[in-house]
């Protein structure tokens, strides 16, 4: 039977992979995908804590619902920004977008 530790380590691994993708992708869509990966890792943590520490209160599951909602909102706004950047720059490499540097 997998315990809380297994879930936490799996979530840590997924979060670190998402962090690696976030830091090494040059593409804005890839960056957004990595952020979704990290949201999912956090979700695992919430559900596992709710399962093993407070099995009757379900607070972690409620927080997971809120996180899924916020991830949806973030993806919508982020992809809208990606569309705008593509329209203005003809490409979405994040290291070419430096007009906010100064």
């Amino acid at each position: 039977m997998p315990g809380l530790t297994h879930y936490l380590i799996l979530a840590a691994a997924l979060f670190a992979l998402g962090m690696f993708g976030l830091l090494t992708r040059r593409n804005a869509v890839g960056v957004l995908m990595s952020i979704e990966l990290m949201f999912n890792a956090v979700n695992i943590n919430f559900v596992a804590f709710s399962r093993f520490l407070t099995p009757e209160a379900l607070t972690g599951q409620i927080f997971a619902v809120f996180i899924i909602t916020i991830a949806a909102a973030e993806a919508a706004v982020g992809l809208a920004i990606v569309m705008l950047i593509y329209r203005n720059f003809r490409g979405i490499e994040v290291d070419k977008i430096n007009f906010m540097k100064w």
């Binding site: 809380l4 992979l17 090494t24 890839g30 093993f52 099995p55 569309m83 203005n88």
Partner: protein, 188 residues
């Protein structure tokens, strides 16, 4: 434990694939596989409502949005891979490895403390096998989530609706072709 191992292996494998694929579409498909395996993990924990929500919202709505944008802006494969420059790759790897090691060490340390406490304080059947003891609550998962969501967390729930409204309006305003109000705008 076997199901957990399989699902976790699928999740980690597809996460590696998500961040290393050169083609954006296959990266998105692996992300869908990851969402579905995580939904299996949630179902394994008895959180059936979260599992359904994971499949419907993440694998259904969000990933469709991603694939739609990838198709719409005609993303080519050679733009999408991992950064070619060595320094960023190594720094990213080191940073991610440090985060992973930190998380694993903190988890191990906290779990040792936690199990020491629970052995002395709590009854053992609570910590040992919560899945077996919850065969009745499993069916009530969605119902009890709804009860909590609309009774105890009704106010955050309503605030979330305002957040979603703001996201809809924001996405619409940002992605619109040109701004009719702004006359001196420099959009092409």
């Amino acid at each position: 434990m076997i199901i957990f191992s399989i699902l976790a292996a699928v999740a980690v494998f597809s996460a590696v694939m998500v961040i290393t694929r050169k083609s954006p579409i296959s990266s998105a498909i692996y992300l869908i596989v990851l969402m579905c395996s995580l939904a299996g993990l949630f179902a394994l924990q008895g959180a059936f409502f979260i599992a359904a929500l994971q499949v419907i919202v993440y694998a259904g709505a969000i990933m469709v949005l991603f694939i739609f944008v990838i198709m719409l802006i005609n993303l080519r494969d050679n733009d999408f891979g991992i950064d070619k420059r060595k320094i960023q790759k190594y720094l990213g790897f080191i940073f991610a490895a440090v985060i992973l090691l930190q998380a694993v060490f903190i988890t191990g340390w906290a779990m040792k403390e936690f199990s020491n406490e629970t052995e002395s304080a709590m009854s053992s059947e609570f910590y040992q096998s919560p899945v077996d003891s919850l065969d009745q609550e499993d069916y009530l998962s969605a119902e009890s989530v709804a009860e909590n969501l609309f009774m105890r967390f009704a106010y955050p729930f309503e605030v979330t609706s305002i957040l979603l409204l703001a996201a809809i309006i924001g996405a619409f305003v940002i992605a619109r072709k040109s701004d009719p109000i702004d006359d001196e705008g420099e959009e092409t």
